[in-house]
Symmetry: C2
Subunit: 218 residues, 2 copies
Amino acid sequence: MYSFTEENYLKAIYHLSNNTEAGVSTNAIAELINTKAASVTDMLKKLSDKELINYIKYQGVTLTESGKKAAVSIIRKHRLWEVFLVKKLGFKWDEVHDIAEELEHINSTVLIDRLDDFLGNPEVDPHGDPIPDKNGLFQHKKLISIVRMKIGQKGVISGVGEHSSLFLKHLEKSDLTLGTDITIKEVVEFDGSVLLLIDNNKEITISREVAKNILVVL
Amino acid sequence: MYSFTEENYLKAIYHLSNNTEAGVSTNAIAELINTKAASVTDMLKKLSDKELINYIKYQGVTLTESGKKAAVSIIRKHRLWEVFLVKKLGFKWDEVHDIAEELEHINSTVLIDRLDDFLGNPEVDPHGDPIPDKNGLFQHKKLISIVRMKIGQKGVISGVGEHSSLFLKHLEKSDLTLGTDITIKEVVEFDGSVLLLIDNNKEITISREVAKNILVVL
DNA sequence: GAATAAATTTAGGTTAATCTAAAAAAATAA
DNA sequence: TTATTTTTTTAGATTAACCTAAATTTATTC
Ligand SMILES: [Mn+2]
Ligand SMILES: [Mn+2]
Ligand SMILES: [Mn+2]
Ligand SMILES: [Mn+2]
């Protein structure tokens, strides 16, 4: 269908679109996929010719409907493969992303739909990110960052705002994995660090930076 | 490690080496991977520079030890993925080859070793072809074609000499799948077709062409 | 509203993998 | 053993995806 490279561009533009209202900038894409701006411009022309993006010189880009569809399909594959790696092959949640970056380009709808069934049609991946279904529809839960919570409020850890292995490993070591119940006990005024009660039996203090990147369902 | 294309060349040379004593010819490679001889020559130079093949102009090629190791690793991946597709995702044996052609290039030793364990360390793939272990060693059973068998001889279908979907579907329809017990009842002198008794309860006649491509363990 | 800075695009090249057509070498036949 | 055919290699181009450096456009600052 689309080349490995084209797919990576579409995915990058999709992810960047979720953080901005305006069009995605050439530099932002270049930074995310580790290329130079000039290379991005080349590819934008190509994707525009194929009507996968709306591109006006100097104005940034947005995905067209077919571009969005292609991007969501890649994300579906990425997340399902991550579930497979964790649930079936015993990988940790911080070990699966790079392998999924390769597997997401395997081109077979039958394969991915059967994998989906084999995994029991999971709604989220090992990082709590929602998995689009066969039709590209997400089951979107409303997640909020711990820094948005008030003292005394309770929630369940359901996602992360940062996917680096370093951060994920840190969370794991602190017993702050997905599904953990938390209660906000105190917010330190000085540095914004947060005292949590986890699973109603243990207290732990986390920095504001960590708190910011833990997402909960209330 | 090696590019997608380089891997395909190594695999092609490996497979062709098993049918010949001498070096593999440029044209044979070109035909197998659907390119032109000139393109093959280019790639042979490249693989030779990387010491993956022994190449002397006009003489054909053989794999070096490291070339062989790389080829076997790809074949290991191909066959394990085929097992996964059939055993876990419910694909038929004639549907898995093309998908495995893509999956075999996923680059992660941990992944493939865990997949191997997850599948119960199978010794053969859905077509009866042996799967090399982590160290690249095969469990080689001695297979012979039905046309080599004598009347009255018994055997178990354990492999195929032809992997096309058309042939595999035909075998399935005739209940000549892997593991089936057969006994040679008669060989027609006129056209070499063979009358078989399968699983001690049903007789069936197959053409010499089909017989040639069914491999059994005695 | 110029002048400067930043972002983006164009121009011109490179590399991997492909191709066609022509040349050279090896194999086969007369 | 020469002539013819087949196989293989070389020469020269093409395409996708990159790059650097230079030009151009847009955004910021004084
Ligand atoms: Mn990921
Ligand atoms: Mn994920
Ligand atoms: Mn196969
Ligand atoms: Mn097979």
